[in-house]
Amino acid sequence: MISDPHEAEFQALIDSDQRIEPRDWMPDGYRRSLIRQIAQHAHSEIIGMQPEGNWITRAPSLRRKAILMAKVQDEAGHGLYLYCAAETLGVDRAELIDLLHQGRQKYSSIFNYPTLTWADVGAIGWLVDGAAITNQIPLCRCSFGPYARAMVRVCKEESFHQRQGFESLYALSHGTPEQHEMAQDAVNRWWWPSVEMLGPPDTESTHSAQSMAWGIKRFSNDELRQRFVDMVAPQAVVLGLTPPDPELRWNEDRGHYDFGEPDFEELRRVVSGDGPCNRQRAAHHLAAHDEGAWVRAAAAAYAAKHPATSAAA
């Protein structure tokens, strides 16, 4: 039973589908959950720049190069919106980045896989962004106002990333045999990690129930996973590529696709730090952050010396 009048008012706001704003009273657990989730989401955008950014200097046409640069830049922007949303809860971006560097906050498991060929960039756009959008659209209605507003912005900008990925992969799968093979190979490697990135099964998900009651999460991991597979399975047919799941087939009775059991043991391994690129991704981010320290210090020193530029401009 809720006895605290603050908490009763808080829950009433959530139950009537209103938004909680930063200066409202909120339970500590709600604040902690949100900080954890928004930070994890922000870190995912930022670490997610690396696997795709890996191909910026090798993009095979100027058009693809421009698209990829803009996309990776969008991810930086999305990370920034999300860090700002987290900051309204009373933490600083620098603290969150420290927690990332200490391994005390996570990012999406998917970015610990390597991008080995150009087709991986298309596969990430199609599958990883597809899974991300499935997860993110409901978050536009999240109970915490700043997070929901950041997600509206993110979804607006990200809606075409999946189209870009699909288009890029389509060009490969309908190109020469070598290109088709490259596309199929990428789908073989990215399919299962994408299905897994929607999280552990509902039976094992630690944060789900409370997050649902608080309106932070609107659908369970398994519901989102089904939604994702239902979206991409028919798209695979159009691409002319075969997902590496022999059990994938339309189930007339359920009105959904059936699919095989993801390897959640692998997900656990990757999340806990032993994916192919965990160490590399963390080291890259840390190195860039450390190398930038003198620049940030110089800018702060300049601002202190020249208060005029900091005052009303």
């Binding site: 950014g53 100027l62 990776v72």
Partner: protein
């Protein structure tokens, strides 16, 4: 009279933009803050757009009808005619900012002159590029002030960056038969004419940033004749390998 001077002239402009864009794009996910990462990519994207517009015009002027990708991916090191300054490696943030200040000040003066080009396509590219490049110059100026007049370390880094890059600025203003012909045709300015404006601006910013203009007797050159620095070959190898490994396909 130099045959095809206009095409060589626009190709030089285009190569400057493409190569500088590529170097800046190498910063992605490596900048000092997220805000700077986004800013550097914005500059890189503007430059890439400018290069594409100029390759399209070059293909008409040289009569080969080549695609933008033919220019970017199918020419070898000796065929690129960008200046040496744009191909210099990123180094630390100070080196990149110094390169940006020197390049964007030059490019802005050039684009401003190109807005009155007798070549309608070139002047159209220039009209857009002037706005973009004046932002690039502002961005570089703001950072030059902050690094030059920030703390001891940033001041020292800016000094060494300028010392390393300054020699390459002489080439920007080299005049030759192609440049003079382009000027005579009204296609674009002879870069030699841009020097006073460039010098005045750069000196003022360096002065405000408590930095001094380096002295240098060494004036490397050759980019406009396809004679580049060693690191440029590696840049091209990386940029071109995928495009060339499956020739003629659609990406």
């Amino acid at each position: 009279m130099v045959a095809g001077a206009a095409a060589v002239y626009t190709l030089r402009l285009a190569d400057d933009c493409l190569v500088l864009s590529h170097r800046l794009a190498q910063w992605s996910s490596r900048a000092p803050t997220l805000e700077d990462d986004i800013a550097l990519t914005n500059v890189a994207l503007d430059l890439l757009g400018q290069a594409r517009g100029l390759y399209a015009r070059t293909a008409e002027l040289d009569g080969t009808g080549r695609s933008e990708d033919d220019y970017a991916f199918m020419r070898g090191e000796r065929e690129f005619v960008n200046c040496l300054l744009v191909e210099q490696e990123n180094g630390d943030f100070a080196t990149t900012i110094a390169r940006q200040l020197l390049c964007s000040t030059f490019q802005l003066a050039q684009w401003q002159a190109l807005t009155t080009s007798t070549d309608a396509q070139v002047s159209a590219v220039a009209a857009k590029a002037v706005k973009e490049t004046s932002y690039h110059r502002d961005h570089a100026t703001d950072w030059t002030l902050r690094l030059g007049d920030g703390n001891d370390e940033s001041h020292r880094r800016m000094e060494s960056a300028l010392a390393a890059l300054w020699p390459f600025t002489a080439e920007l203003f080299e005049s030759d038969a192609v440049a003079r012909e382009a000027d005579a045709l009204g296609v674009g300015p002879d870069p030699a004419a841009l020097r006073p404006e460039w010098q005045a601006y750069v000196r003022r910013v360096l002065d405000d940033a408590t930095l001094v203009v380096p002295e240098s007797t060494w004036t490397p050159s050759g980019g406009r004749q396809g004679l580049h620095t060693e690191s440029f070959g590696y840049m091209l190898a990386e940029m071109q390998h995928l495009h060339r490994s499956l020739p003629g396909v659609t990406w």
